[in-house]
């Protein structure tokens, strides 16, 4: 599925919740709880994304064609949000990732997580994923970050 199709799918899922923030957040929290994204051993400080109130680790990998993304957080909502972003972007080509507008976050009513307050790591996460994608693009060969 393309990035856009992934986004569409999530938007459809969230549409069911209507105006009800509680269900939306329960969904995010469940996502955060269910997915062990990185093992404790993997959570090195050099994977930390700067400027979040909660800790956020990011690990990306490039096989020469597709980029895969893993991330984790010590805060459950942040982790759930990261899981959504990964679900959308994972296993796509770096140029697709660089150009992804990621409108779905706004569309599913979670735009508040994109605010420039430094409390929130989502903006930084997306920025770092795109920076990694850019770096892979310019190098072209497989690599881990």
């Amino acid at each position: 599925m393309s990035i856009e199709e992934n986004e569409k799918e999530i938007i459809d899922e969230f549409n069911i919740f209507g105006d009800d923030w509680e269900s939306r957040y329960e969904y995010i929290i469940d996502l955060g709880k269910s997915l062990p994204l990185l093992s404790d051993a993997e959570k090195h400080d050099n994977l930390l994304i700067k400027g979040c109130q909660s800790k956020m680790w990011l690990k990306t990998y490039f096989d020469g064609t597709l980029m895969s993304i893993r991330a984790d957080s010590d805060a459950i909502i942040t982790k759930g949000m990261a899981a959504l972003v990964i679900r959308v972007l994972n296993n796509h080509r770096p140029e697709e990732i660089v150009n992804a507008p990621l409108n779905f976050i706004d569309a599913i009513g979670l735009k508040e997580h994109l605010s420039p307050t430094r409390a929130n790591g989502l903006t930084s996460l997306i920025k770092q994923i795109k920076l990694d994608a850019l770096a892979y693009l310019s190098k072209g060969s497989s690599e881990t970050k």
Binding site: E22, I29, A75, A119
Partner: protein, 407 residues
């Protein structure tokens, strides 16, 4: 002095009358910044609408009138902290600016290689970093007085650490994270026995309790208007006249000099020497209005009511097993920090916000303190006299829902 009634008081604060996420706003983030009563907002509006002019410089009527009003604001601040002279009141940008001013000017004049500056383990970054910087610049060293698990400083610990090289003690009056009211009068007394001057970070004290710099015998006392129901962008450095006279200027520019030529300058006397550039005139006027407003209520009533609020909030939280209160001193201002076992403060704060409850989560600019408690941060409910018991109930209900959702 009217009888204190928070329901009436709340009517003075328009910001409180709003819905957040479809709930009535419960604003428990007063430690970050407090809301402004209408009189303060009106005085700022009135300044810009009718009185706007630059001060100290013009001979024309508007300029003369606003200079007088601005100097009157200085006198209002003087009486608020009971300073001996109005020229001991320096207007700054805020607490951070005040502390940086002292670190620079006092440091330049009095701190040399090998000297020591002493702070406590519960300081705000604004009362840590300027001293680290000073010590690094001058080859001096920073000494940190420990706290106990309850979040208290022992006067003896302070006294013990003072040496002949100690040039300044800088300590907070009230901890923004823990709420602890420190025994600063005793600390100042003991420091003075060793001839060491003391700077007090009063940012979290002035909204809650009566400060008397002469009774405390503080050498420097710093605070921000925005945390005491006044405007943003203005703060105060109180300093004893003798220090202001001995300290070189900090920033330089228009207004701080008597004469300038490229060969040399003569400085104006304090406070002007420390107030380079056009000041935040509307800020000074608004701060004076905020002080008059506080005085009308009176600290006696404020302290009594806030104490009841604090006790109620703490007892409600105590009843929740999963909650641990961080900062258990017996002398506290109306600040409760806590953690919920197994949950990240950020998650709890996010969900509370959804219920209209504004708390602050994180390290509250006291990372070393978080390291001491080995926690990533706390959830902080910091109260003001316009908060109510009902709000605490609603907050506790919301907190329970949040915990349920997140567990």
């Amino acid at each position: 002095m009217a009888i204190f009634n928070p329901i009436d008081i709340r009517k003075d604060f328009p910001t409180l009358e709003q819905k957040v996420n479809k709930h009535n706003l419960i604003y428990f983030d007063n430690g970050a910044t407090a809301h402004k009563p209408k009189v303060v907002i009106n005085s700022i509006q009135e300044y810009y609408t009718n009185k706007n002019s630059n001060i100290h410089r013009g001979v024309h009527t508007l300029s003369r009138q606003i200079t007088e009003a601005y100097e009157q604001a200085r006198v209002t601040v003087q009486h608020f902290v009971n300073a001996a002279f109005s020229h001991e009141i320096v207007f700054t940008k805020g607490t951070t600016d005040s502390i940086n001013l002292v670190a620079y000017s006092f440091g330049k004049r009095f701190v040399k290689a090998g000297d020591e500056v002493m702070i406590s383990a519960m300081e705000h970054h604004s009362n840590i970093l300027p001293w680290m910087q000073l010590c690094e610049d001058r080859g001096a060293s920073l000494k940190v007085v420990p706290i106990n698990k309850a979040g208290e400083i022992k006067v003896e610990d302070f006294t013990k650490l003072i040496t002949d090289r100690t040039k300044l003690v800088a300590i907070t009056h009230v901890s923004n994270t823990l709420g602890t009211i420190n025994p600063i009068k005793e600390i100042i007394h003991n420091a003075h026995l060793r001839n060491v001057p003391v700077l007090i970070d009063g940012a979290q004290a002035v909204p809650h309790l009566k400060v008397d710099v002469q009774d405390l015998d503080a050498d420097f006392y710093c605070f921000s208007a925005h945390k005491m129901f006044g405007p943003t962008g203005v703060g105060v450095l109180y300093a004893k006249e003798k220090w202001l006279n001995e300290m070189p200027p900090y920033q330089s520019g228009g207004g701080i000099i008597q004469t300038v030529s490229f060969e040399g300058v003569t400085y104006a006397p304090a406070p002007l020497k420390f107030e380079a550039g056009t000041p935040h005139i509307a800020g000074g006027i608004g701060l004076a209005t905020a002080i008059n407003y506080i005085n009308q209520i009176g600290f006696e009533q404020i302290e009594k009511y806030e104490n009841e609020l604090l006790n109620y909030a703490q007892s409600q939280l105590h009843q929740m097993e999963e909650v641990e209160i961080i900062g258990q001193s017996e002398h506290k201002a109306a600040v409760v920090s806590f953690i919920v076992k197994g949950l990240h403060p950020y998650d709890v704060g996010m969900i509370l916000d959804k219920y209209g409850v504004a708390v602050r989560t994180g390290h509250h600019c006291t990372q070393p303190l978080m390291d001491y408690y080995k926690i990533p941060g706390t959830i902080r409910a910091s109260l003001a006299f316009y908060n109510t018991f009902e709000e605490i109930d609603t907050f506790v209900t919301a907190l329970k829902k949040a915990i349920k959702m997140l567990s």
